[in-house]
Symmetry: C2
DNA sequence: CTAATTCTTGACTAAAATAGTCGGAAATAG
DNA sequence: CTATTTCCGACTATTTTAGTCAAGAATTAG
């Protein structure tokens, strides 16, 4: 799991699509204008998002992109995975250069943590993020948060 | 919150320190050998970790670094913050170029999500990672965290 | 004291990732 | 047909990452 500015751009653009995309597709030019991301860069990102089956495209006038499925079925982890093409991070894959060393141990510990972050982002959909705009859904509970976050 | 390979290196090195550091300091040369990170790069990272008060150093033969405090009191978020010097990510700070636009909205949504990840990593200590019994107890609760996502 | 060890610092560099540019081709609505 | 918009590949500039090098300061073992 990697979390770079590129992933942020992608999630931002997808959020824009989820917010502004109704029955009509949204053009990249619109997103570019609103989110201040260069059009050409958006093209690169959406090529990957399309390959990742997160959006569908429509060419021609009035065309653009729309979400490939409901905003409640598109998760942040999928977006980041689509644009980040995670490199494999192991420096000891297959090779036996990491016998009884500590390398594999610490590597495994990191992978574990990384996996948890991925797991977390796999449960947050665009819809979840958007729902936070609705004040009725606002529930500030610092106590509750600590209970769910800390080691139980 | 950014999550790059540099942060991974830092956490890995700190884990090595937590695992291999007993009463004696651990030299960067040792960490370099075990974790296959270049010595000079480790020097850069540990300069920042020291400034962040996460490690203390000891010069001379038999010297090296040791954790500044107990492994249960050093958290992953602190390590990443120390080496990443997070840039401010707002493209609309102060400036009024983001009035009723969608830019601020999506930006805040991302900030909230990013904040949640940071919050999560603020509760995971080196000790937690080393403690391998029952990793499920460290897992994030997406439902619980969504309740706490703030609205601005 | 001396010498080896280790951190400390700064300047520099190579490689990679990021972000953006450009030119054109294909599709399609009007 | 024509304007709009996705699509696609090649190219470039900038930034970040990772590593190198060299000099120097502190400390300790012997």
């Amino acid at each position: 799991m990697k979390l770079t500015t590129r992933g942020r751009y992608a999630v931002t653009a997808m959020l824009d699509l989820a917010i502004n995309g109704g029955s009509r597709p949204v053009s990249l030019a619109d997103i570019s204008g609103r989110q201040e991301i260069s059009l050409s860069y958006l093209e690169q990102l959406f090529a990957k998002l399309r390959r990742g089956k997160l959006v569908v495209s429509a060419r021609g006038p009035g065309g653009g992109y729309r979400l490939a499925r409901s905003r409640t079925e598109i998760f942040v982890a999928q977006i980041i995975d689509a644009v980040d093409e995670s490199v494999d991070v192991t420096n000891c894959q297959g090779k036996g250069n990491c016998h009884q060393g500590e390398t594999c141990l610490t590597h495994h510990l990191w992978e574990d943590l990384s996996g948890q972050i991925h797991e977390f982002l796999s449960h947050i959909s665009l819809g979840d993020l958007m729902d936070k705009r609705d004040p009725r859904h606002r529930r500030m509970s610092a106590d509750g948060m600590l209970q769910t976050l800390s080691v139980r």
